[in-house]
Symmetry: C2
Subunit: 223 residues, 2 copies
């Protein structure tokens, strides 16, 4: 039972870390990363500044874990899409809806994706690159299978990423439209922009509203 005890300890700590990350994430989103002080985050969780540093090495770490969270969700999203083999248009549509939801939905809606990771974020950059590669692959396959209009998948990918990432700049949970609705609207518009005109009439953005799982359990919150 030594294991259980140790794990109980760890769980307590893990929950604390998670609550801190929640507070940090929200505050980052509300005030922006630079305008957010450690003291702000501390106040939000109801602890003191110094105590934060018992759980996280520094501010950048806080940001890094937030980004990791989001990237984790995006990862599972991609993995899930790869599992079921759908035509490129549907996969892209689902990816876009899922992406918008990952960034804007749920409690720890993370703005962090916008911030540029510091030097310590080489790992994060790599994961982000991998995600972008997945997106480009979908586009390439769409062109290959003849449903997408021929185009430079790199540029097309940036257009799509711009649209979806930009949402964190203006989307508000209490606004008139939900993240899911925004996502479907975006997906319809963006997929239609890639599809060959004769196929464009057949898309059904309503069906692209994939369920978003919480981040993978495997997300390590170990500093």
């Amino acid at each position: 039972m030594v294991q259980t005890k140790a794990e109980a300890e760890t769980l307590r700590v893990l929950e604390k870390k998670r609550s801190i990350l929640d507070a940090a994430s929200k505050t980052f989103r509300e005030k922006g990363f630079h305008k957010t002080g450690m003291r702000d985050v501390a106040a939000r969780v109801g602890m003191t500044v110094g105590n934060l540093y018992y759980y996280f090495r520094n501010k950048e770490d806080l940001l890094a874990f937030c980004q990791e969270e989001t990237l984790g969700r995006l990862d599972t999203l991609v993995r899930r899409l790869d599992a079921e083999s759908l035509p490129a248009a549907d996969r892209l549509g689902r990816l876009i809806v899922g992406h918008v939801r990952c960034l804007n939905e749920g409690i720890p809606g993370t703005l962090a994706h916008l911030e540029i990771p510091g030097d310590g974020g080489a790992d994060l950059r790599a994961r982000r690159d991998r995600y972008e590669a997945s997106l480009r692959r979908i586009l390439r396959e769409g062109v290959a299978e003849g449903s997408f209009v021929p185009c430079d998948e790199k540029v097309a990918a940036m257009a799509i990423l711009g649209s979806v990432n930009w949402t964190v700049r203006w989307f508000r949970p209490d606004g008139p439209a939900s993240a899911d609705e925004i996502g479907r609207a975006f997906a319809g518009q963006l997929v239609r922009g890639l599809l060959k005109p004769e196929l464009a009439a057949g898309i059904r953005p309503e069906s692209w509203s994939a369920p978003i799982g919480p981040g993978p359990e495997s997300t390590e919150v170990t500093s």
Copy 2:
């Protein structure tokens, strides 16, 4: 001739201000606004820190003028488009190409458009809103004239703005593609996403490469 003398004085100052703004703009773009110090800007123009404050009140002012510069270009772009009455698809295409070029082309390619203006930037926010309103109007007219698929012009506008504004995050002048090429690719993709499928085959993004004038002379660089 007293006027001439006074104006000569002013011109000297104006040039100095412009060179400072150039340096600031470039450095902001390279290192980001927050990572850029006044000392960096000063070093770039070849003057000392304190001297900057003889020409500009503070750092935020520097940012404000950079944004004003870009907004000025976008303004003239819109005005020019309104002059010649084209179908909505062509106007939107030209707007997109022009926007991408405004943000990424030429010497003072300004990243500032991304940064969120502080309290002093109410004026800037208003101008930006006006620009976005113009974009939405084009979309609305496109829907009205029956060439665009029915959609929420507000959401569609955000998708477009996201794509084009995001370019400042990844576009590099020495990269493989020019701002104009990127702009045309974006325009093709984004316009096609809005057009009714039966019309989508007829678009010519090549023709949307509008000439970009320098910012309007009326741009006041008076602090």
